[in-house]
């Protein structure tokens, strides 16, 4: 997958609707053939706009979009050969499932026999053989979603776009459909650009995730990199949960930096987008990486904190602490024999390994970029 010559390229793409503010500011992305890329971000961050520009429903204010090296910005949507799955499915209500699936093939003037065979094949692929002659209104949400998927795939498009396709489904069905989409992706090998604001969905499905905020890609990386080594505070905050300790950089070396926290403790963290000595920084640690001292010994960073309360979640327990300067810290501990019993206001040390934390920007003092 990766390493191929870029199949789809966004080059310095910008988009404005009102000719004053940019909704997408300088979007660059290279996608290999067969890759599953997710555009993730809060609503209004520009991710759907990027998808619409690729599909051809929105024009590009400036920049280029290339598919297979060919400029597509001036090609109308019906000639781009891009499949699309819409959030509300957009199945044609006056056509049966079979007619819906046959629609793109009929437009391409394929012989009737070939169309029938293809429709049957794809109906089997999404396990809806028995529903061919029903109308979309007679199907459940998950079934409609599968039809929409099959319809977007049946004409063998170069790229399949999915705009929050699972947004209208309940949690259990959503997980089932995630699995289904992944299965089809692996089976058929198409290229996917997937838009969602659900980070779990993005993490479980994607090869790479591009995190959007305010029209800019904050970081584009495989899920584990995004989670373990967020490039900035927004990503650390948006993906999963993180504990944020503010401090100032005291020393910098190859991989790590030393940070003097505001309560005086000196800790080490992985080098990220804060690399100048004296710069204000936020040390970010995931709640499951933060632990009680007696389990790490003296190998890692330590900070003193006061126990506030704990929440019983089932498979794990959430402990809430506050440091001397009032920063709240959360520890997630598996619900096993290691789970400690703490008294309210009890002061203990919390510890983590330097490689499990990074020195990121601090919102009061944005890093120059």
């Amino acid at each position: 997958m990766a390493g191929d010559k870029a199949f789809l390229q966004f080059i310095q793409v910008k988009k404005t609707y009102d000719h004053r503010t940019l909704v997408v500011k300088d979007f660059n992305l290279e996608v290999a053939k067969g890759e599953f890329i997710t555009l993730l971000g809060p609503s209004g961050s520009g991710k759907t706009t990027c998808l619409m520009m690729l599909a051809g429903f929105e024009d590009v204010t400036s920049g280029e979009i290339l598919i297979n090296g060919r400029q597509v910005t001036s090609i109308p949507p019906y000639e781009r050969n891009i499949g699309m799955v819409f959030q509300q499915y957009a199945l044609f209500p006056h056509m049966t499932i079979r007619e819906n699936l046959a629609y793109p093939l009929k437009i391409r003037k394929q012989p009737r026999q070939a169309i029938n065979a293809k429709v049957n094949e794809y109906l089997a692929l999404v396990e809806l053989q028995d529903f061919a002659n029903r109308y979309p209104g007679q199907l459940s949400g998950g079934q409609r979603q599968r039809v929409a998927l099959a319809r977007a795939l049946i004409f063998a498009p170069d790229i399949v776009l999915m705009d929050e396709p699972l947004g209208a489904l309940d949690k259990k069905l959503r997980e089932q459909m995630q699995f289904e989409i992944k299965r089809l992706h692996e089976q058929l090998g198409f290229t996917v650009i997937y838009v969602t604001h659900d980070q779990t969905e993005a993490l479980t499905m994607s090869d790479r995730i591009a995190v959007f905020n305010q029209g800019i890609v904050q970081q584009c990386a495989p899920p584990h990199v995004l989670y373990e080594r967020p490039a900035n505070l927004f990503v650390a905050d948006f993906i999963g949960e993180s504990n944020k300790l503010s401090g100032r950089i005291e020393a910098v070396d190859d991989q790590e930096v030393s940070v003097r926290l505001s309560d005086g403790a000196l800790v080490r963290a992985r080098k990220a987008n804060c690399t100048q000595v004296g710069q204000p920084t936020t040390v970010s640690v995931r709640p499951e990486k933060l632990t009680f001292t007696d389990r790490l010994g003296n190998a890692g960073n330590q900070v003193r904190a006061r126990f506030l309360t704990s929440h019983y979640v089932g498979e794990y327990i959430r402990y809430h602490f506050a440091t001397a300067d009032g920063t709240e810290l959360v520890v997630k501990n598996m619900n096993d024999s290691s789970a400690p019993r703490l008294e309210p206001q009890q002061e203990i040390s919390l510890a983590w390994l330097p490689q499990d934390s990074q020195a990121l920007d601090r919102p009061e003092a944005p890093t120059p970029s």
Binding site: Y78, M84, F86, F92, P104
Partner: protein, 416 residues
């Protein structure tokens, strides 16, 4: 209820009774809410229509005025003159009516059955009225036959016999331009009035509906593509005609269309025309004015249906490779059909029964069936014929609705 017992096996009889009582109470409350409306509809809608239908077949006036004559005529074989005895009975009854000064009513009724009979009945009644009752037996019949030669015509007696039937479908025959002849049975009338008018009414309604659709569809499409607040503002403009008096709007059309009106003077002044166009008092005027008045009935259901169509349907069609125009025809247009058919049905049905606009701007050429119904109600006082014409109109509309339901499906209608 033993059959329900199985379903309610977990409920005791008392609980089941309580549940049933609660349900009954709920239904009763709901009924109470709609009761005033129900009564109103019954009085203002169902009852008048029922009385109209009744009146179109029930006509007792003649048989009440001359009951014995009508009874006598039952024996008559409809050829030649009725026998002496029957004529004598008629002379007696006419004499009695003349004395009671009620011969005018009979004259009016018989004139409707056989034109020209009004004066005949009146003068004969006068002549018979001068006779003394004891003279009637001997001089009644000769006086009658001498009074007018019409009394010697079998067609007249046939018409009287038909008019004397309490229950009759003759008005429907008239409304369909048919008549009954003693030898030939039911045959077309010499002058065709109503069938022509029905077909003209349907043609005009069809033209108006088509025009409304042609004008309303692009407008609704444009409105549906606008942001909600702008669309609402423009929708007010569409609805503006609703808030102006119908009479004012129609009169405005008169001002526009008349020979010295705005349009003609503009065209004349600009040199496009040498002499004014004859527009007012034509079916053209009826079509234009009614299209204007009925346009909102097309736009509103269309707009609300189009508003509900997500833009992603058309986008999906494009992304699947369809070009914009075919995609519009194959995807968008079928999805707007519920609104289009609702609008078309509304406009068509309203215009089939429209009265005031054709009456004001249509002249003789632009008259529709309702104008003739009104004429029979108000001028010729032939309520029975008006009722028959109205019932046929009602049947026609029901038939159209049935055809529509058959081919499109009434459940597809979306009014909003």
């Amino acid at each position: 209820m033993p059959a329900r017992g199985a379903l309610l096996h977990s409920l005791t009889a008392q609980e089941a009774g309580q549940a049933a009582r609660a349900r009954r109470r709920k239904r009763l409350t709901a009924l109470l809410f709609v009761l005033p409306l129900l009564l109103f509809i019954l009085l203002a809608f169902v009852a008048p229509i029922a009385s109209m239908l009744w009146r179109s077949v029930h006509h007792p006036t003649v048989s009440e005025l001359i009951p014995r004559t009508i009874a006598e005529l039952q024996r008559w074989d409809e050829h030649g003159l009725p026998d002496e005895a029957s004529l004598a009975v008629f002379a007696e009854e006419l004499h009695a009516l003349a004395r009671k000064r009620q011969s005018g009513r009979l004259a009016e009724e018989l004139n409707r059955a056989f034109s020209g009979m009004s004066s005949v009945v009146k003068s004969s009644a006068r002549q018979l009225g001068r006779l003394q009752p004891e003279q009637l037996a001997t001089d009644g019949v000769p006086t009658l036959l001498k009074a007018h030669r019409n009394w010697s015509r079998s067609e007249v007696w046939y018409a009287i016999k038909r008019a004397g039937m309490t229950y009759t479908y003759d008005y429907y025959l008239t409304a369909l331009d048919l008549e009954r002849h003693p030898d030939e049975g039911i045959r077309p009338r010499d002058t065709q009035i109503y069938l022509k008018l029905y077909s003209k009414t349907l043609t005009l309604a069809l033209i108006i509906t088509l025009l409304c659709a042609l004008l309303g569809y692009p407008l609704s499409y444009y409105l549906a593509s606008l942001p909600e607040n702008r669309a609402n503002l423009l929708l007010v403009l569409v609805l503006l005609p609703f808030w102006t008096s119908l009479l004012v709007r129609t009169t405005a059309w008169i001002a526009l269309l008349q020979t010295n009106g705005v349009i003609n003077s503009t065209l004349l002044a600009s040199g496009l025309l040498d002499e004014p166009l004859e527009m007012l008092y034509t079916s053209f005027a009826t079509v234009v004015a009614m299209t204007h008045i009925l346009l909102p009935f097309m736009v509103l259901p269309l707009y609300s249906v189009m508003r509900g169509i997500d833009p992603s349907y058309l986008r999906a069609a494009l992304s699947l490779g369809d070009r914009p125009l075919p995609a519009f025809a194959r995807i968008y247009f079928p999805m707007t059909l519920p609104g289009l058919s609702a609008g078309a049905l509304l406009v068509f049905i309203i215009s089939v029964g429209y009265y005031i606009t054709p009456a004001l701007v249509g002249g003789t050429d632009g008259q529709m069936i309702s104008n003739l119904i009104a004429f029979h109600m108000q001028s010729s006082n032939n309520w029975e014929l008006a009722a028959a014409l109205g019932s046929l109109l009602l049947a026609l509309i029901l038939l159209l609705y049935w055809v529509y339901d058959r081919f499109v499906g009434a459940s597809n209608i979306k009014l909003g």
